[in-house]
């Protein structure tokens, strides 16, 4: 009984401290654009992932010569492409693929970037030197060109291998950012105090320093997500993304390279183009709201 009471008290006390999520909610609720963006993004993600579960992928990508270039309406909500394939179905599966790649690349590059950055910043000295020179090497590489080269020579071309190739050239930005923050944090007394209390370097890095830079990580990853969706679509547009039997937003968009399609069959590429634009804007808006929530000085009063 008594224990329960103290527990209740403790819970009350916990509620007094606004948590990060609460601050973010407050910020989002104040910023109507960000709120709308978040709802939109969550909605699109949910719809795309659930509908693509129901949708028969084989059916969607099957060539049907009797239904070439159907305009919207009738049997096909958004018409068909030159292979008689349903554009709406491709749009759903394509958005799912693009989002999935975006998430995967963001998570992978974020993971590598965070580990490299925080280790480099925390230890400094030779470790920092070596890691940063490796990073510099990757920075000077013409990444888009190399991604294209790797995409064309990789034997088994799948979502995973594509994500890994993209990750290999996209982890440097976040690593630099995290490193500079870790450099600041490790000089603070609490990191040294942890050392005197007998904590290992590993636990100081991941249990003490990392929680203090989570806000930065969340913000950067969100903004990276928008960028990564864009990069993937761009590569697919250029023809170095997925093959046609794996639609993505970029492949749909690349139909617009055909001038006739661009001028007369807007239903094939326009929805994808709008979706890319709106999705990236939505993610960005949420990211900006997160950024403000993470920095007390930028919060809206």
């Amino acid at each position: 009984m008594e224990e329960k009471q103290t527990q209740n008290e403790q819970e009350q006390v916990i509620q007094k401290t606004p948590s990060g999520i609460k601050i973010f909610w407050k910020e989002i609720l104040k910023d109507k654009l960000a709120l709308f963006s978040l709802i939109f993004f969550v909605l699109v993600t949910a719809i795309v992932f659930t509908v693509s579960l129901i949708l028969d992928k084989e059916q969607v990508v099957k060539v049907d010569l009797f239904a070439i270039h159907q305009p919207p309406g009738g049997d096909f909500i958004l018409g068909t492409d030159y292979g008689g394939r349903d554009v709406f179905g491709q749009l759903i599966i394509g958005t799912r693929n693009s989002l999935w790649i975006g998430f995967l690349v963001t998570a992978l590059s974020g993971f590598i970037g965070i580990v490299v950055g925080v280790v480099s910043g925390y230890f400094g000295g030779h470790i920092d030197n070596v890691l940063m020179r490796i990073l510099d090497f990757f920075m000077v590489l013409p990444s888009t060109m190399l991604i294209i080269v790797f995409v064309s020579i990789v034997p088994e071309y799948s979502t995973l291998s594509f994500s890994l190739i993209m990750t290999a050239f996209l982890w440097m930005g976040i690593a630099r950012l995290i490193r500079s923050k870790a450099l600041q944090e490790k000089e603070l007394d609490y990191a040294q105090a942890s050392r005197t209390l007998g904590s290992s370097h590993f636990s100081i890095i991941f249990k003490q320093v990392l929680p203090n830079i989570t806000s930065l990580i969340v913000v950067t990853m969100t903004l990276n997500l928008a960028a990564n969706i864009g990069i993937e679509s761009g590569l697919s547009f250029l023809g170095f993304g997925f093959p046609e039997n794996t639609p993505s937003l970029g492949t749909l968009l690349s139909y617009a390279t055909n001038p006739v399609t661009l001028e007369e069959r807007w239903w094939i590429w326009l929805p994808a183009a709008i979706l890319i634009l709106v999705l990236m804007l939505a993610v960005r808006n949420v990211g900006e709201a997160l950024k403000r929530a993470a920095d007390a000085r930028q919060r809206r009063a």
């Binding site: 401290t17 007394d189 105090a193 942890s194 050392r195 209390l197 007998g198 929680p211």
Partner: protein, 311 residues
């Protein structure tokens, strides 16, 4: 029986520059410091900023590389003989930091902060751990409800108490206090200092007290070492230092202690002027060409002063 013995401690920081970032020189933060601390006493390290007192403390704690010299704790060598090695961190020595605002991780609840050393050294169940933390917090005068709060919800004095609770969690014997009250309000300083003295008596602790505030040092310490430019200029009992300062630097420091009584004001000003003149006139008698102090020489059993060789 000495608890801590520091022998000819040197901590140099390399100055890098030129091509390939070579080492082009050293900053001699601590340059040959020796002292011992007896169990149960409070040893004060005093000096101006940059005199190396904090570096000495951190070297003993193992936060800085020791360039040369030996640190013994309870007769045991703490830093291996190899040059540039850090001191073994051990649970008998703990540290209280100067800035209570940055020494507590802002993302951790007080429970996690105070329990950190326990988690590293003692195997405890969650319940035991909670009870221990609660006991430690009540010892430093904080209620159990503070366990679930974050550091920013406390005042400076309360935060420093949390720092103390964390430091005594492992039942250490020696606590290094790096200007523990310098960041606090004057009204809170006395409260925290008295509380530290209480804790010292209760737990039979030994303090290495680093400060630049002579008033605070006079209140806290049994023995005092005065540092200047990385070296000791004078060392002795509190009475030796305050009643019979021998070195010109110490004289000037002691003369600078403020006096509240306004009737003595004129007298004090004159006295300080005289000491200042003496300081500038005899500076080269007390320091060598590089502005460093000479070796310490005993003048009584307890009192050692860095007087020049020629006398």
């Amino acid at each position: 029986m000495t608890l801590l013995k520091v022998e000819d401690l040197k901590v140099y920081f390399p100055v890098r520059g030129g091509v390939f970032n070579r080492k082009i020189g050293d900053i001699k933060a601590v340059d040959g410091v020796s002292f011992d601390i007896e169990p149960g006493e409070t040893y004060g390290l005093v000096g101006e900023s940059g005199s190396g007192k904090t570096t000495t403390g951190k070297a003993v704690m193992g936060l800085n590389n020791v360039t040369e010299g030996k640190i013994y704790y309870d007769g045991e060598l703490l830093n291996a003989d190899k040059k540039g090695q850090k001191v073994d961190i051990r649970k008998d020595i703990q540290m209280i930091f100067q800035d209570p605002y940055s020494s507590l991780n802002p993302r951790k609840r007080v429970l996690d902060i105070v329990a950190e050393p326990l988690r590293n050294y003692e195997k405890m169940s969650k319940k035991e751990e909670k009870e221990t933390v609660q006991r430690l917090l009540s010892r430093v005068g904080l209620g159990p409800e503070s366990m679930v709060k974050y550091p920013h919800e406390f005042s400076g004095g309360q935060r420093q108490r949390i720092g103390v609770a964390r430091a005594i969690a492992l039942k250490p014997k020696l606590i290094i206090m790096d200007e523990p009250v310098s960041a606090l309000d004057v009204s809170v300083q006395a409260q925290v200092l008295n509380f530290m003295q209480e804790i010292q008596k209760e737990l039979n602790l030994t303090y290495l007290f680093i400060s630049h505030d002579l008033g605070v040092v006079k209140h806290m310490c049994d023995r005092i070492g005065i540092m200047y430019n990385g070296r000791f200029v004078e060392e002795g009992l509190k009475e030796d230092i305050f009643n019979d300062p021998q070195h010109i630097y110490t004289k000037r420091l002691v003369a600078a202690i403020p006096d509240i009584d306004p009737r003595n004001r004129k007298e004090n000003i004159d006295f300080r002027e005289r000491v200042k003149d003496e300081y500038s006139n005899s500076y080269y008698d007390y320091f060598n060409e590089e502005g460093l102090a000479y070796q310490l020489k005993p003048i009584t059993d307890t009192h050692r002063v860095a007087l020049p060789e020629k006398g």
